[in-house]
C-alpha cells in the first residue's frame, strides 16, 4: 500500500515545489521570460497531474489520443487565428460606442 501511494505523494510534493517556484519567479523582473516560466511550469504541472494522478502514463493509447485531441484542436485555433493576428496591420479608428441598446441590462425594446 505504502509503496503504491508513494508516487502520488512525491508528485504532490513536486507540484507544490513547482508552485513555489512559479510564484517566486513571478516577482523577478524578467520581461517576457516571466510569462514563459509561468507557462512552462504550468505545463510541467499539468503533465504531472495528467500522467500520474490521471494515470495517463499507463493508460490505453486511445485515452491518450483523446486527451491529445483536445490540445491539438486548441492549438489549431491558436495557430491559424494567430496567422491573422501576427500579420494583420490594424489601423485603429476612433470609435465612440454609440450604444443603442437600452437599458444596459435586459432585453427591452429600444426607444
Amino acid at each position: 500500500m505504502e509503496r503504491a501511494i508513494r508516487p502520488l505523494i512525491l508528485t504532490w510534493l513536486a507540484l507544490l515545489v513547482l508552485l513555489a517556484l512559479t510564484a517566486g519567479a513571478a516577482w523577478l523582473r524578467l520581461g517576457w521570460i516571466n510569462t514563459a516560466i509561468g507557462l512552462a511550469v504550468a505545463l510541467v504541472k499539468a503533465l504531472l497531474v495528467a500522467l500520474v494522478f490521471m494515470r495517463l502514463r499507463r493508460a490505453h493509447g486511445l485515452l491518450r489520443l483523446a486527451a491529445l485531441a483536445g490540445v491539438v484542436t486548441l492549438a489549431l485555433l491558436f495557430i491559424l487565428s494567430g496567422t491573422d493576428y501576427a500579420t494583420r496591420t490594424d489601423v485603429p479608428a476612433p470609435f465612440q460606442q454609440p450604444s443603442t441598446v437600452m437599458p444596459r441590462l435586459g432585453e427591452g425594446h429600444g426607444p
Binding site: 508528485t11 508552485l19 513571478a26 499539468a46 497531474v49 490521471m54 485531441a69 483536445g70 493576428y85
Partner: protein
C-alpha cells in the same frame, strides 16, 4: 434474406469477450467493456470540456498581444496570496482524489469507507477553494474591479489602459467563474459518490458506486485542477515584478 450478408446469425457465440464477473449495464457484453467505455467516454468528455476554455484562452491571448500593459496592471490588482494558496489547496485536493481512487481499488467495506472519507476530504478542499474564491470576488467587487458601468480601478486615468484592464477582468471573471462552476460539479460528484460508498443500496440489482466511478470522478477533478494550473500564471502572475 440476403445470402451475402456479412454474418452468420446462427453461429453460436458469446458477445464481445466473455461475460466477465461483476455487474454491467445491459447494453454491454462484459464488465471490462463497460469499464473501458466509461473511462474512454470520460476522456472524450474532458477533451470537449477543455475546449470550452478555448475561446476564453484565445481572447486572453488577443488581449495580452494588444494590451500588455493593461494586462500587467490588471493582474497586479488580483489577490496574489489568495490565488497562490488556492492553487496549493487545489493541488492537494487532487492528491486526495488520487488517493481515493487508489483506496477504492481494494476490496471490502473498510476500503470503501476509506475511499469515502478521502472523497469527502477532496470535496471539503474544493469548498475551501470556493470560499477563498468568494472572498477574492468580494474584494474585487469592493475595489470596483467588476467590469461594467461601475468599473473604476484606483489610480487609472488613461482610457485605453482602463479599457484593457476591464477586458482583463471580464476574462478573469469568466474564466474563474467557469472554473468554479466545474469545481462545483466536481464537489457534488465527490459527495454523491462518498454517500453511495458509505451506504450502498440494499439488494443486488444496483451495487452502488464502484471503484471505476471513483476513478472517473477523480479524472474529472484532476481536469479541473489542470485548468486552474494554467489559469493561475495567466491571471495572477502577470507583471508582478512591477511596471
Amino acid at each position: 434474406m440476403s445470402p451475402s450478408g456479412p454474418l452468420h446469425p446462427d453461429t453460436p457465440t458469446s458477445p464481445i469477450g466473455t461475460p466477465g464477473k461483476g455487474h454491467h449495464a445491459e447494453q454491454f457484453g462484459s464488465r471490462e467493456q463497460q469499464v473501458f467505455a466509461r473511462s474512454f467516454g470520460m476522456w472524450v468528455f474532458i477533451a470537449s470540456e477543455f475546449l470550452f476554455f478555448g475561446p476564453l484562452l484565445f481572447a486572453y491571448f488577443y488581449l495580452r498581444l494588444h494590451f500588455p500593459e493593461a494586462c500587467a496592471a490588471a493582474s497586479r490588482h488580483t489577490d496574489f496570496l489568495a490565488g497562490t494558496v488556492n492553487t496549493a489547496v487545489l493541488l492537494t485536493s487532487s492528491l486526495l482524489a488520487a488517493l481515493a481512487g487508489h483506496a477504492a481499488e481494494a476490496e471490502g467495506a473498510g476500503a470503501r469507507r476509506r475511499a469515502a472519507r478521502l472523497l469527502v476530504a477532496t470535496a471539503a478542499l474544493g469548498l475551501v477553494f470556493l470560499a477563498l474564491k468568494g472572498y477574492e470576488y468580494h474584494g474585487e467587487f469592493a475595489e470596483h474591479l467588476f467590469p461594467g458601468a461601475g468599473f473604476r480601478p484606483e489610480g487609472v486615468l488613461d482610457d485605453r489602459l482602463r479599457g484593457g484592464m476591464e477586458l482583463f477582468f471580464l476574462l478573469y471573471f469568466l474564466m474563474t467563474g467557469l472554473h468554479a462552476l466545474h469545481l462545483s460539479v466536481g464537489i457534488g460528484a465527490c459527495l454523491w459518490l462518498a454517500a453511495g460508498l458509505r451506504h450502498p443500496p440494499e439488494g443486488g440489482a444496483d451495487p452502488g458506486p464502484d471503484k471505476e466511478a471513483v476513478e472517473l470522478a477523480g479524472l474529472y477533478w484532476h481536469f479541473v485542477d489542470v485548468v486552474w494550473v494554467f489559469l493561475y500564471p495567466l491571471l495572477y502572475l502577470v507583471g508582478r515584478a512591477g511596471a
